[in-house]
Subunit: 309 residues, 4 copies
């Protein structure tokens, strides 16, 4: 498998980690899940993100899951593995194991304790050293990490850390940061990196317009993201927006903090991608009213998509 590099584009779906109803890792669901994502048109997969319940796995389980997915994918698309960890030793170990298992690169979010610009840059410098020749995506997601990276900080990191080849950008949505990063590359100030947007794809059309290369997030209808990226590439902006708008009511609902992942797994289970919608503890329970909302939103979505064709 070729290594992840700055030309990556399209839709890297953040994969959920399937569990059985009693909380065990559900490796049996991996092939259906992988097929579901690839049949949706995914250009890559990202494992063990925050919304992959990564911190709930033991080191051994993380590796088992990575191996199961790489086996099921069978090199059809590149795989990125989230390796964020409170410590660099564990980060480096999982990264090396993931690459040995066939990953194309890894992803790193900063620990929540970082505050100043220098602390952030120094941290990613150390990450770059620990990873050596493993390429990585930097995850810029202040809502979950509490770490705010300004554009100047991102530029400093890109200059200092050559194996940072991608920014998973989800600074809610920080559209002007995407544009600023692209402008800095256009001025020759910094090399180009791949930029993929997150946040449940809630700003995907605008992100693409500002220069992003696609999406890296886990919305339970990846075909929306694939369709939006394709329409954008073809310059079919009206179709892009029509498609996006049709899915937006549900995408918005799925992006609720707290219960978002439970909603996503519920939909994925309904769509046959995984056997159980269970989250490993601790995790929220959905109410009957939550499920009714999903049913109503899904039905309206289907209806709206029909109107568009």
């Amino acid at each position: 498998m070729p290594l992840l590099n700055e030309t990556a584009r399209g839709v890297y779906v953040i994969a959920v980690t399937p569990f059985t109803d009693d909380g065990a890792l559900d490796l049996a669901s991996v092939p259906t899940l992988v097929d579901f994502y690839l049949d949706s048109g995914a250009d890559g997969l990202t494992l063990l993100g925050v919304l992959g319940e990564a911190p709930k796995l033991t080191a051994d389980e993380s590796l088992q899951f990575v191996r199961a997915v790489t086996a099921a994918v069978a090199a059809r698309v590149p795989i990125i593995v989230g390796v964020s960890s409170p410590g660099l030793a564990a980060l480096g170990q999982l990264a090396r194991e993931a690459m040995a298992a066939g990953a194309a690169g890894v992803m790193v979010a900063p620990p929540h304790t970082l505050r100043t610009d220098d602390q952030i840059v120094d941290y990613f410098r150390l990450v770059g050293d620990v990873l050596g020749d493993i390429p990585f995506a930097l995850q810029d997601h202040p809502q979950s990490t509490g770490v705010q990276m300004s554009l100047p900080v991102l530029l400093r990191i890109l200059k200092a850390v050559p194996n940072c080849v991608m920014v998973k950008h989800e600074d809610w949505p920080g559209l002007n940061k995407i544009a600023g990063l692209r402008a800095a590359s256009a001025r020759g100030e910094v090399r180009r990196v791949s930029i993929l947007g997150g946040n449940g794809a809630l700003f995907l059309p605008e992100e693409l317009e500002r220069g992003s290369d696609g999406a890296m997030t886990g919305f339970a209808y990846p075909e929306m993201m694939v369709g939006v990226c394709r329409a954008h590439q073809e310059g079919a902006l009206r179709e892009m927006c029509d498609l996006f708008d049709a899915y937006l009511p549900l995408a918005r609902y799925e992006q609720q903090p707290g219960i978002g992942l439970a909603l996503r797994k519920h939909i994925l289970a309904q769509r046959g991608a995984i056997a159980s919608a269970a989250l490993r503890q601790p995790g929220p329970k959905l109410s009957a009213a939550d499920l009714a909302d999903v049913a109503r939103l899904t039905e309206r979505q289907t209806q709206r998509l029909k109107e568009l064709t």
Copy 2:
């Protein structure tokens, strides 16, 4: 003017505070702004919220603005005044002045330093004492305050603090908290309070379904909120959702942290509600691309609304 009470319902628009281009309080825009909101169908106005740039005003300016608005409203609808402050003395003073100027009640968000349940309950107990017979809305908005109030804490506050007559609920969106609050009242465990939803109305249909009484937020097209509430009351759920979905792409865009208020003021200025879109310093600047996004989204919104009629 009757005092605010637990029967309040409908749309209380969070009013922006208009400034001139050089940052002075723009009292000349108050009549147009008030008429804009009331012509949109607002059932009430809320002044000096976080998105009213309240902390940027001096104590004198706050009072001037309250007086200008109450004069312009001329008792057509009730007015709620945000009086959140790091200290209770300033909170009480502004509350008394606002009521003297004609407000129907006040609104209080907790200071960011509160953490434990007891700290939160004790704080609102003190607020209740300081306010005396002034009714108030409790603002539950963890994204801006950092204070997380569980349902049990809300119930304890409602039991302990009789002048808390409304919850401005925007725990992103905490739909199950709304339902839990209503269920506790249905069980006779706690008196009924008015519940109005915030968050730019991004979850208004679902909030109404769970038992909220309406919206208290500042989306620049208040007619959407008015229409959604009306449709809900009439049981026209399909029309409610159609209307909501038509505005959702822009509502989502306007709700971006950081630049959201600048976007809102830009639209309000374009719609003639205020003379200048300026924020008082410190505040973000919109880029040309931001403005282009708004133009595109607004145009599509107009188009979609036409299709619906």
Copy 3:
């Protein structure tokens, strides 16, 4: 009164704000409090700091207190007034009023929402603009503000904001930051500023050794701080440490988060500086055991001081 400038040195005591038992501003205690501080050898006074319960005052009360203190001080020592506020308009207003009342300068801590280096520098740039020709001390106290300022950020501020003439340094204790600031001035990279240490003087000897100019904090025995600064200036390092160590057990005890200010006011009331130890609500209550600890520590302190003479 001459304006505050970079040559300020010695002990600027952070004055408590006296209240009566029922929470009213106790202006009657101002003369005794001022005399207590000046008789202890204070070189200056700082009003309305965080531990002066500043946020609990209304704008009017703040000004009344400033005027009462400046009248009692009668130009014997310079006065610095804390003007930190969520908004720049209120900050500027209080600053101008304080200067009109006779203050030598003001003090500003950053709002808790600042995170990135640029946000911090931009904020103090705006503060500098708003204050115009009023000199100010920058308060670097991450424990209370949550804002972490690296040495490079401090240097950027000093270069960009000419009326910042003092750093109240209490980055627990950030001794190497003090040394770094002095080294930058020695290299000619940045102008010299006055540096005064805070944190209840718990690191005063070490701060002086690294280049600070004295203390700005409110330990209830200001004579310790005065004696330590004097001994340091005379090169009597052993005497400096002996004196410091004698007070350290109590200074440590008074510096407890949560109840520290209540302890301090209790001691000040016992020493006759203020009429009541009351804090304005909300504030903690001391237990009998707390008071017994203070009594024991004070007695041992007196004993130890006797042994030293």
Copy 4:
């Protein structure tokens, strides 16, 4: 080895984790470190605390270190192993491995994301379930975790979670919380638990007076903590305070956030307990002035101890 229970008392030293200069786990230093602590009079050891650099170890290294220490201790004193982790699966795995290696119990600090009372209680309920019959110490250290546990919350946890047998109390210092916990047991409201104080022993005398059973912290002169606890038990309060005060200047200096652990390791290396003072990356570097401070403080400490005998 008997399991940890509520009768634990005395000094449980938080052991550092030794590294070589190039950052490898230094298992060769384990025997000297263990002997150093036990020769100082330690009643127990605690491994892999926050100041044991636990998060910097891989899962394998953590287990290696636990095994090396249990082998060196050879059942002379009980060992507690910190197992805090972002996820319960990793927490449970390390706990079971540690117990299999000979630990007496484990220690758990809450993840930084917890806010409300219910979230905290629910978390420790899950921890209790995951640990099964393994007894554990709850670490109450808001300065590092950001989680504030009120006394009512502690009581709820003790009622709901039977295998929580100890509270490592370091709520800076929360003396009244210790007293409140003891009073609740005296009233028969909750079973007794062991309470050990942390915070570098900066409040050890007062904690003992309020009812704590000793200290669990890592001050580089454990003999101070041992002597203070012994004197307290013998009712020799004056000797207790004299001894404590002699060490306080250094204990205060060692407790500096940021560089505290580096200072501690420097002293331990000087005292021959470990071969290298190195911290694993990322970690601060001490300056020459820092080292000079330690030298001066140590010398004065030696001198003062001589005066006392």
